[in-house]
Symmetry: C2
């Protein structure tokens, strides 16, 4: 057998109190049990630790030395337990995850704020990544999950759609525009529009869906960054064609989104996880927050209702 922490606990107790009986009481065991633990430890280490008579328990020099090592181990043990407990309760730790630029811009700030409030001591490491890179990066880096507009199946990955953003026309809150419940793609043709460039995922989805219906989008402007499109819209240069989820309300209070219909298109905001890898408690807490926050976003169901009206 080998030295046990039990023995060390008894040892430090006896060392401090200079009494087997008192140490036993403190440990919640009987005096005889404590006596045995000390004897075991002595046998184990091959050293006499206490000169004991029925009347006194005197630590030897060896005990003086052993005491420090023992205390350190015990405090390490306690520290380990506490630290793990904190991790388990998501009171400490770190969340590292990937976010595609789109998801990160409008939706995640909300989630981050809420999570920060409830878990102030968790370190957050959010890494912006191009949507195409989400899956490959997730398998190779230490990120625990990814959030972004991804659909489909991937090997060793689970994909869960948290919410869907309706492709919308985003414009200034004019009386005219605000009165509309929805716009059709056809109506857009007569209006100045700002869309993402053809290389982008969003644009490709749009072009594909429209061309299937013999239609096409002919934007007035084409930009690379979502923020650019929104800024231009705020300046009155036209309507931005984007998923409604990508409009940060607080950042652009003058803008509103109206769903585009015929056809109604949606882009998912999905959660990607590696299969067979449990999330850290901190990550689980974060994901829970994300689900809760995103569930409150207006879903595509409303969009369909409007489209049929």
């Amino acid at each position: 057998m080998n030295v046990t922490l039990r023995q060390l606990r008894a040892f430090t107790g006896v060392y401090r109190t200079r009494s087997i009986t008192r140490a036993a009481r403190a440990l919640g065991i009987t005096q005889s049990a404590a006596s045995l633990l000390i004897q075991q430890l002595e046998a184990q280490l091959g050293v006499k630790l206490f000169d004991r008579s029925t009347r006194s328990v005197q630590p030897t020099l060896a005990a003086d030395e052993a005491f420090h090592a023992a205390e350190r181990m015990l405090s390490d043990a306690q520290g380990l337990s506490r630290r793990m407990r904190d991790l388990a309760q998501a009171r400490a730790g770190r969340v590292a995850f990937l976010a595609s630029a789109g998801a990160a811009s409008a939706l995640l700030p909300l989630v981050l704020a809420k999570f920060r409030a409830s878990h102030p001591d968790i370190e957050i490491d959010m890494r912006d990544v191009a949507a195409d890179d989400l899956v490959p990066r997730l398998s190779t880096t230490d990120a625990e999950f990814a959030i972004g507009s991804v659909e489909g199946e991937f090997a060793d990955m689970t994909v869960e759609t948290l919410t869907r953003g309706r492709l919308s026309a985003i414009g200034r809150r004019t009386a005219d525009f605000a009165a509309r419940r929805a716009l059709t793609w056809d109506e857009l043709a007569q209006l100045p529009t700002i869309a993402m460039r053809r290389e982008s995922r969003i644009r490709m989805q749009i072009d594909q869906a429209l061309s299937a219906q013999g239609k096409r989008l002919d934007p007035t402007y084409e930009v690379m960054l979502i923020n650019t499109a929104l800024a231009m819209t705020a300046q009155g240069l036209g309507l931005a064609i984007l998923p409604a989820t990508m409009l940060p309300a607080d950042q652009f209070p003058t803008l509103i989104a109206r769903p585009l219909v015929r056809p109604a298109l949606t882009r998912p905001v999905s959660l990607l996880q590696r299969q067979g890898r449990t999330l850290s408690p901190a990550a689980q807490a974060f994901v829970a927050t994300a689900r809760a926050v995103l569930a409150q976003q207006p879903g595509p169901g409303t969009a369909r209702a409007i489209a049929q009206k």
Copy 2:
């Protein structure tokens, strides 16, 4: 229950090998036992430590953190065991003891040299103390034992006489002096002599013993330090009246000792220990060496034989 070192050993093994089976083999237990240990630890800490399928065992982030703490504790445990083993075998450690000036001067250097040779890594802390202080100091300081000319009984102390030094006349190795086997106290009266001062223990013993026989010592010189007496003798100023054990042969090669008889007096060289206090292994080794070395000193038995001749 609580975390055990057993669990931590299994944990670090699995963490390193990323396999329960391999770790179990390394620990000399079965795979199922190792599996259980990991489960226990997880339950204990409230954290999942490995994502395990039948095919792979992946440490979680919590495991990464726990690993370092666990390793530290285990290496502490090993260090403690090793250190204690070294102490037990007197391969490491410290001997702190008291020595009266007399004992320290001639006898102990021999012991020290021999002990050093056989136990090179033991730290030696020898403290010179006046003979009268040996007992009180031994009860209050951390010295483990004392060596000196002490006789009698003391509370809580054991006294063991290691050897006895005959009170002798020490003089230069002249043909005349070397021819003598012994001298009587009466013969001294006609010779120049150097004795310790009346306040000293040695001198008090002499004066008492002689006056009991109606004799007295009338030294030419009286000094305080043994070394002074010997140095004066080496200069030919007279015969030093001292226990033979106090003549360091290597330091004064020209001097020899001849026992004084009628009456033959001896002074003990004793080992004092606190009762009920085991000596550290290092101290035990030192005491053993001291016994061995001092047993080889010419004892008082020879002196008696000569006196009767």
